[in-house]
């Protein structure tokens, strides 16, 4: 998988994110929307990835985590709660995914676990509805995304 394709996955993940929670919607419709996006992510990863990049198994779900993170930027209320939950979900996916990969002899990538916890700083210590907070969070998430691909020990 090339770095360009990898960046493309980020783009695809981020595009539908604003619409996840923006409009009031019944729960099953929202689930269908998110599920559909996840299916598209999977299809996309499947087309682009090569087995030489063992983390590809995780990629659609990392994409889901990224979109959920981004979507919290557009939330009207309880942004703190859901932004932190989405970030934890990302850490969760990465940690257990890499833990299981490490049993198969794949290197454990540390970078996401250094960068993602930084996201809690803007979530908790800055005003949740200010533009700076959103910007700061977006930067951190983007950095986590890039570094979890590019940075290998």
């Amino acid at each position: 998988m090339t770095s360009f394709a990898y960046m493309l996955t980020a783009l695809i993940a981020m595009l539908p994110a604003p619409f996840f929670f923006k409009t009031p919607m019944r729960v099953p419709f929202r689930a269908v929307l998110i599920g559909f996006c996840l299916l598209l992510d999977e299809l996309f990863v499947c087309l682009l990835s090569s087995p030489a990049y063992p983390h590809y198994e995780l990629l659609p779900f990392q994409m889901l985590a990224l979109s959920l993170c981004i979507s919290t930027l557009f939330l009207g209320k309880r942004r703190r709660l859901f932004a932190s939950l989405a970030t934890i979900l990302w850490i969760w996916i990465d940690f257990f995914g890499m833990l299981s990969l490490s049993y198969r002899g794949v290197d454990f990538l540390w970078m996401p676990f250094v960068v993602l916890p930084l996201a809690f700083y803007p979530i908790f210590f800055m005003h949740p509805y200010k533009k700076e907070t959103r910007f700061c969070l977006a930067v951190i998430w983007a950095a986590a995304w890039i570094l979890s691909y590019a940075w290998t020990p």
Partner: protein, 548 residues
């Protein structure tokens, strides 16, 4: 009542299956030849998945602020307890030596041997134990909070502990598969996959249970549809990434639940129940195919174990519900709950954070203890056990704070004392362990066993063992012993050895002379020859020593 009778009807034959599974061992049920695992594990994963429903509805939805969660919370919590007990019994049945299960507990023991914390089964044990205790405490807290409103403020803190724990448990169950080298068990995405599968089946179970108790909660139906879409995404990914595709699972687990979009069907109670059951069946079948993808060759024990699971769940659930109904009549009364919900709820902030600190401390201490004793482990692989330990400690300390609100210190001291006594007792039993758990016997020692090997090197050892009692280790007589003999054994000088000749000396050893008894049969020819050489070398040495 009907559930109880239904449960007993399934449980009784199931118990026979459990009995024969325990006595005959794993060969009594069908086991995959490549994977050595079979139906008990599939049942375990299925039931532990169902056990997530309670926590999902009463803890996760509580902290996420779903307005309708109290309507199904008790039902779901009770089903969690029942399903958890059923789930926990299956790994025990699965074991080759069930009575030795405690060897998985990650604590040192008398023999100072430690478990292997890299193994997901150890994580499993700890996580399920912690989940069982914490969710029981949670349901107790919930029940008591109906009577003592001062407890209400502890519910949310507790829910915050339980929320990650329940996800952790199923994550770890998924790791049992994900860390292996079995091709169809591999998958870095398994944690989410299993969690969504568990929540899906849990929601389906709660739907069935609420319908059976004559109520209807539309939000649960909505959730069922939602989770069917989530699980679809994982099934598609299984197909794309690993080429695993089972159309029957897709039909039962995804297509059938879509019927609920059609409002005509959705209004029929039977249809809703059937849809939920279809979802559960598809997930059970999926777990079975995961554990055992080869063609099934079931014995009656496999079916009996399935029946045991369902039966035991129904019996436990209905008994628990009756108990709750008797002891806490408010709990299942919807109107009363509606009123209770109107109370303003606070969050017990200070006890919560203190408990969290206790939990973190306990996890840290455990990690230090373990790394100290087993320095060779990859410490990162210890993390999966640390969180359940932290959560368990935090929940216990939070319960302590909650108990102080309602009970007198004397009563708490009593309870703590009894619990401590019990805990120390159990700890001691586990610490000691059973005696040699080994089928075959101890070594029998007779004169036949373990003869000395013969070689020139150990002729000295043979001499020391066989001859030195009389002839002395250095070849001089052992006077303390032989003073009773007459005539005294001859001292062997170099000249005498040479005049006698090696062969005749060897004959003396083998056939005896005067009071010296024959050693034939106790010493081989080769050994006798080696002894004669040794004799000569000793005499040589003595001669040299004498000259010097």
């Amino acid at each position: 009542m009907n559930i109880l009778i239904f449960g007993i009807a399934l449980l009784l034959p199931g118990l026979f299956a459990v009995d024969s599974a325990l006595t005959l061992g794993p060969s009594s049920w069908d086991i995959s030849q490549q994977r050595f695992w079979g139906t008990p594990i599939a049942n375990f994963v299925f039931w532990i998945g169902l056990a997530h429903a309670g926590t999902f509805f009463s803890a996760i939805l509580l902290v996420l602020g779903a307005r309708w969660q109290h309507r199904v919370a008790f039902m779901a919590e009770l089903s969690t307890l029942a399903a958890l007990m059923v789930a926990a019994s299956f790994p025990l049945i699965h074991l080759g030596i069930p009575s030795e299960f405690y060897q998985m507990i990650p604590m040192g023991n008398l023999r100072s041997v430690f478990v292997n914390p890299e193994s997901p089964l150890v994580w499993d044990f700890v996580a399920i134990l912690a989940y069982g205790i914490v969710s029981s405490l949670y349901i107790l807290l919930h029940l008591f909070s109906l009577q003592k409103s001062s407890l209400e403020r502890f519910r949310r803190p507790f829910a915050w502990i339980l929320f990650p724990l329940v996800l952790w448990v199923h994550t770890i169950v998924s790791m049992d598969f994900a860390v292996t080298f079995v091709p169809n068990w591999q998958g870095a995405y398994f944690p989410l996959y299993f969690i969504f599968g568990a929540l899906y089946s849990g929601v389906a179970l709660v739907l069935v249970l609420t319908e059976l108790s004559g109520r209807r909660v539309r939000a649960v139906e909505d959730l069922l549809i939602s989770f069917s879409w989530a699980i679809l995404a994982f099934w598609v990914w299984e197909a794309l990434a690993k080429g695993i595709w089972h159309s029957e699972i897709l039909v039962l687990g995804f297509l059938v639940p879509q019927l609920l979009w059609i409002s005509k069907i959705r209004e029929i109670q039977g249809a809703r129940v059937l849809v939920a059951i279809s979802g559960m069946v598809s997930l059970w079948w999926e777990r079975l195919l995961l554990v055992q993808p080869e063609s099934l060759d079931w014995t009656w024990v496999d079916i009996g174990l399935l029946s045991f699971g369902i039966g035991a769940f129904c019996v436990l659930f209905s008994l628990l519900r009756r108990g709750v109904q008797k002891a806490f009549p408010l709990a299942l009364d919807e109107n009363a709950l509606e009123e209770l919900r109107a109370r303003p709820v606070q969050f017990a902030r200070k006890p919560f954070w203190i408990s969290i600190c206790f939990g973190a401390l306990a996890a840290l201490l455990f990690a230090v203890y373990f790394v100290w004793n087993v320095p060779s482990i990859t410490w990162m692989r210890l993390i999966p056990i640390l969180f359940p330990i932290a959560a368990l400690t935090a929940a216990l300390s939070l319960s302590f704070f909650a108990a102080r609100k309602v009970w007198s210190s004397k009563r708490i001291a009593w309870i703590l004392g009894i619990l401590l006594l019990w805990g120390v007792g159990v700890w001691g039993l586990v610490f000691r362990g059973s005696d040699v758990s080994y089928s075959e016997a101890f070594v029998t020692v007779s004169d036949q066993a373990g003869k000395l090997k013969s070689s020139a090197v150990d002729a000295r050892e043979i001499w020391n063992a066989r001859c030195a009692a009389c002839h002395g280790k250095d070849g001089n007589l052992n006077r303390k012993f032989v003073h009773e003999y007459y005539p005294l054994p001859q001292t062997l000088s170099l000249s005498r050895i040479d005049s006698l000749g090696m062969d005749s000396l060897k004959r003396v050893i083998l056939d005896g002379r005067n009071y010296m008894r024959p050693f034939r049969g106790r010493i081989s020819d080769k050994e006798a020859a080696a002894l004669v050489h040794y004799l000569k070398s000793m005499a040589l040495q003595k001669e040299k020593g004498g000259l010097e």
